[in-house]
Symmetry: C2
Amino acid sequence: MPLNFTILPPPAALAIALRQKIDQKTKPLRALGQLEALALQIGLIQQTLTPTLNAPHIIVFAGDHGLVAAGVSLYPASVTAQMVANFINGGAAINVFARQHGIGLVIVDAGVNGDLSAYPDLIQAKIGNGTQNCLTQAAMSADECHAALRKGAELVMARHAQGCNCIGFGEMGIGNSASASLLMHSLTGLPLADCVGRGTGLDDTQLSHKTAVLQDVLARHQQPSAGLPLEVLATFGGFEIAMMTGAYLQAAELGMVIMVDGFIASAALLVAAHCYPAVLDYCIFSHVSNERGHRAMLEHFNATALLQLDMRLGEGSGIAIAYPLLQSAVLFLNEMATFAEAGVESAL
Amino acid sequence: MPLNFTILPPPAALAIALRQKIDQKTKPLRALGQLEALALQIGLIQQTLTPTLNAPHIIVFAGDHGLVAAGVSLYPASVTAQMVANFINGGAAINVFARQHGIGLVIVDAGVNGDLSAYPDLIQAKIGNGTQNCLTQAAMSADECHAALRKGAELVMARHAQGCNCIGFGEMGIGNSASASLLMHSLTGLPLADCVGRGTGLDDTQLSHKTAVLQDVLARHQQPSAGLPLEVLATFGGFEIAMMTGAYLQAAELGMVIMVDGFIASAALLVAAHCYPAVLDYCIFSHVSNERGHRAMLEHFNATALLQLDMRLGEGSGIAIAYPLLQSAVLFLNEMATFAEAGVESAL
């Protein structure tokens, strides 16, 4: 069952007028650096000289991973469900940062291994009680994978219908950096070791073990072709990752400004971009971490992240922290005086 | 006339309790990276486990430079006064970003060459109509320098008296990157060429001319000793730079959180740190630009900036853009749940 999105690059014609508007503001040429690039990109995505960010949202997808049984994380799998409860109760980092910036927060049970039906504020979208262990079989079936993609897309459509034009995706899932590494290796062709990192804080020995486990995983599967990204996703992905992939695609089709979080969120985007490369035109990369592989993945996207603050948390935390910079870009474009308006002389 | 501040490093004993509080939050150890370092520093400055940022302010000091006659800037000197009017009318970048984040903005005529008495919202603190041209004489007299230092200190005291505990300093002054380069060279001993940059956008030829002018300046003065920072300041500085120096010292004495802007703001801090090294313990560096010399100056301070967004505007713009990160640091420390509170298991 092929995906059916229509994702085109935003028409570029408006770039000249946007650049002129930026250059007439009372500041030396290019003096706002990456904020100017942001203003240009957001203006192009929205096809307007006066862009706005309306009802920004972060959707956090949570899911468990069968591979955790092989010992690839520092934390027990039970922490996924516990952290979902923490999100719902408002006590996690992403809650704090989303509140700070007025970003709506939506938490989704994409496939947590545990009964979370008691939480009315949690979006119940469980595809399964965690994925299968990909040491022995594909993490999910093709049907499960498509169900997850569709659900991610649906959730974005619902936010968009309520006026949201700026969205980002976070994740929670013990073991999901291992899944992201497998996706990255399979889709970029980079050596596995360059795609595997310390996750929540593995030491050297634990990192070696994680890498060895992932080598075993790769050995037990007919390596799916990078030309079949959804097969790669079903074999190695997670339910939360697959939902993110669907969410990116839907957000791009709807012409939304998309904020990209960390390593795992970028791996989900990698799958999306292998299906529809133009999705990347809608993406703003919030934060680059020290997780091995993240920087290489951004290079693969030919992207630069706004922030590098040594964070490695997931949850959409990088997005929330970077969001004020998007606001700044839109605000300077709309509110700053021009040289003519302010009666300020230009360069000699 | 020696300066008379009492500036001591914040007592370090609380660091252990702050670190423990940070480590008990529901996140992997160190997963909030530089935000954790910020929370620790702000907690130490305020000597509390529950720091707050109250009534944050940016004071923008404006002044003109006699050296501009030698052609060291891309813009005519008249732009300083024009931009002050733009600040007062709310049309500059710093106005936009300060409004965005609820940061109080104070504009000071430290020594603009022009009559700005018609602006009631401008703080009238003119030391002179621009500095003297330091190609022929010291930029200012020792008395003028001290008057500027005192005024900067006074303005900080006034904000502090009104409940402000977090402050940063911006500047506007055509030609002041040349002044900052001379201060940097004199106080760090780094080669002049490593301290001179493109300012608002000089091309290679213009940059060579600027460097040659500054070499002439240095040749015409008995090189003041780095051990006499206020003499260096009077010889090469600007009125806005001297006021910033006094402002830093007063803010540190009052135990305020100090936000440091770009290259010129850092040069003013360099003078302050040569008088009282402990001033640096109160400083948070907001943004590192591509202005030649800025990175080396931060290395001299043994400091890392929060942001690097290719901005080069001054005005306190880097501070305003970085301020939400300080807020995030304080908020996660105060609001995030602990592992125990949230019932989340720790690492295996």
